[in-house]
């Protein structure tokens, strides 16, 4: 690995400190790209003479359930024409379909969970982001059908073009979001590595060097989004003295990062994750203004409407039941939000876990957590690029 580090830093002309960081960045970019390429059905598209794809196991099961529920939706819309009570069935099916559907592509679970991993967001914010983006997604679909089909009497081609434009904007936003996170978090990782190294060179002292303090998240990784963990460590005398010392130190030198405020410390990408010696600004504390930080993620993810919702609404329109299609779209969005929120919560908990075990090795843990964040930022960027370049097949509306 050392040889790789040296080769990479020489090639890029980076200072010594940055060697492992640069290697890590490049490796994670390659891994992310590899993962995306290998698991995407687009590979089959890129070489259409390869084997036809097959879905089996869990993926196949989700796939078949989605297909059944999607078809059931149109069947129920037809039923509702003659029987009003079928509308309740429609809502029920729309909800379940939404839950399953979010497991498929194009529902931003990847971007949202990566965004949460990259930023120190709380699970509650993750849930809020999931619901907000699902709501935006429902609105976009309704807006397209409402304006293009109902008001303008436009064709499927017109709606396809509208979706295409929105899609490009959405992927562009994802790329911007990923780039910005990568920049901020990459610098954070470089800082964390430097702090770790410095600490190692001054080994043997209990008192951590002030550099460790300006290390992202102020060098006491025990404080994660699940504030409870940190509190438990505080109150539990049986916890290792190291943690106590760390916490103590944090209070002495890192007031800006005191975690007693109820919103956790979720510094958005706007706030550089190091060197803020002052107290948190009000806008950093979540609350109504906190939405601004998540807005980029909500819009980037929610902009792309769900093709299925558009097709079903147009079908409902042709049956004179547009409103049923509109309500079903919102219910679908609710189901989608639940799945995305569940995945997002898992992502946040996984990071909390990662952080928990990372405290066993002081300093290194910070590097590891920063590394995870950089990886997540790389993943967002990779998604954006691959989606825009058409390597990942999102849902398509044209084709016929």
């Amino acid at each position: 690995m050392k040889a790789v580090d040296i080769a990479v830093s020489r090639f890029l002309g980076l200072p010594d400190d940055a060697k492992p960081v640069a290697t890590f960045l490049i490796c994670s970019a390659l891994i992310a790209a590899g993962v995306v390429m290998c698991t995407s059905p687009a590979v089959a598209q890129a070489s259409p003479f390869g084997a036809a794809p097959a879905a089996s196991g869990f993926a196949g099961w989700v796939l078949s359930k989605q297909a059944i529920f999607y078809r059931a939706l149109s069947a129920t819309i037809l039923m509702a024409k003659n029987d009003g009570s079928a509308l309740w069935t429609l809502m029920g099916i729309a909800f379940v379909y939404g839950v399953f559907h979010a497991a498929g592509p194009g529902h931003g679970k990847a971007v949202i969970s990566s965004y949460l991993l990259a930023n120190d967001e709380t699970w509650r914010r993750g849930v809020a982001l999931s619901f907000a983006s699902a709501l935006v997604q429902s609105f976009t679909a309704i807006l397209i059908v409402g304006v293009a089909a109902v008001l303008l009497g436009g064709t499927a081609k017109m709606m396809g073009q509208a979706v295409r434009v929105i899609e490009i904007a959405s992927y562009g936003l994802i790329i911007l979001l990923g780039s910005r996170l990568l920049w901020v978090k990459g610098l954070g990782l470089i800082r964390a590595t430097a702090a770790w190294r410095e600490q190692h060179s001054g080994a043997g002292t209990d008192h951590r060097h002030p550099q460790a303090c300006v290390e992202p998240d102020c060098g006491h990784p025990i404080h994660n989004s699940f504030g409870a963990l940190g509190k438990r460590a505080d109150g539990d005398g049986g916890q290792s003295g190291l943690l106590q010392r760390q916490h103590h130190h944090g209070q002495l030198h890192c007031d800006a990062c005191d975690h007693d405020h109820p919103h956790g410390h979720d510094h958005g990408p706007d706030v550089l994750p190091w060197g803020h010696a002052h107290g948190p600004e009000p806008h950093e504390l979540g609350g109504p203004d906190g939405w601004k930080r998540g807005l980029s993620a909500i819009v980037a993810v929610g902009l792309r409407p769900c093709s299925g919702a558009i097709i079903l609404m147009v079908f409902a329109l042709s049956q004179g039941l547009l409103w049923a299609g509109v309500v079903a779209t919102f219910v679908m969005g609710l189901g989608t939000a639940i799945t995305v929120a569940a995945i997002a919560t898992l992502a946040v908990s996984a990071k909390a876990f990662a952080r928990r075990f990372a405290t066993d090795e002081v300093g290194y843990g910070g590097v590891l957590v920063r590394g995870l964040e950089v990886g997540a930022a790389v993943l967002i960027l990779a998604f954006g690029i691959l989606l825009l370049a058409g390597y990942i097949a999102s849902e398509r509306l044209v084709g016929f």
Partner: protein, 228 residues
Amino acid sequence: MIVPTLRPMRIGSLGRRLHLAVACWLLLTAVPAFAHPHVWVTMKEELLYAPDGALTGVRHAWTFDETFSAFATQGLSAKTKGHFTREELQSLAQTNIESLKEYRYFTYAMVDGKKQKNAFNEPVDYWLEFDPKKTELTLHLTLPLKTPLSARQLVIEVYDPEFFVDFGLAEGNPVKLVGAPPQCAVSTEKPYDSSFQSTPTLKGLFASSEANVGMGMSFANKLTVQCP
């Protein structure tokens, strides 16, 4: 403030590995899964032969499900409401063919087990037909082979690799050989067996375990012609 509390526990090397695995799993599952179909197509196919016994092309007749047909015909003007003529659908057919080019018309040829690259030319004739009773659209198109193929075993596959479109063969005899040598025989391999319902009933859908989905199998519909 309600926060989920996690019991403090000692995390050994096994625990670490487990949590790393969880993190990795999350990143992996975050990658888009398969799309699921939004368009269902019932296919009827004709394989066209030259007098010398070589396969010259494929003639598709693809019928779309009712939902997608409603979507595709949205905003199109018709003299008689709900009755679209071939002429009224011509511009839509044009759009279809242009869009299908990117997907190589979802049609692939194999000779003696070898996939042929870019085997087909652009469609020579194509049109859309609307069935006002079933409210279904059918796209007709003929794909000529760049070079006629003659071999002991020819395979034509029809599928959408992204599985946005679910292709299924029609009931009965969906594949015809047109002008083929009499000793040639065609066999079909479907990715699923449940019969296709363009307008499915709820009961039918949930009773069938497959609902026209190639679960656990390849999505490809294989048409194999053996000429001894």
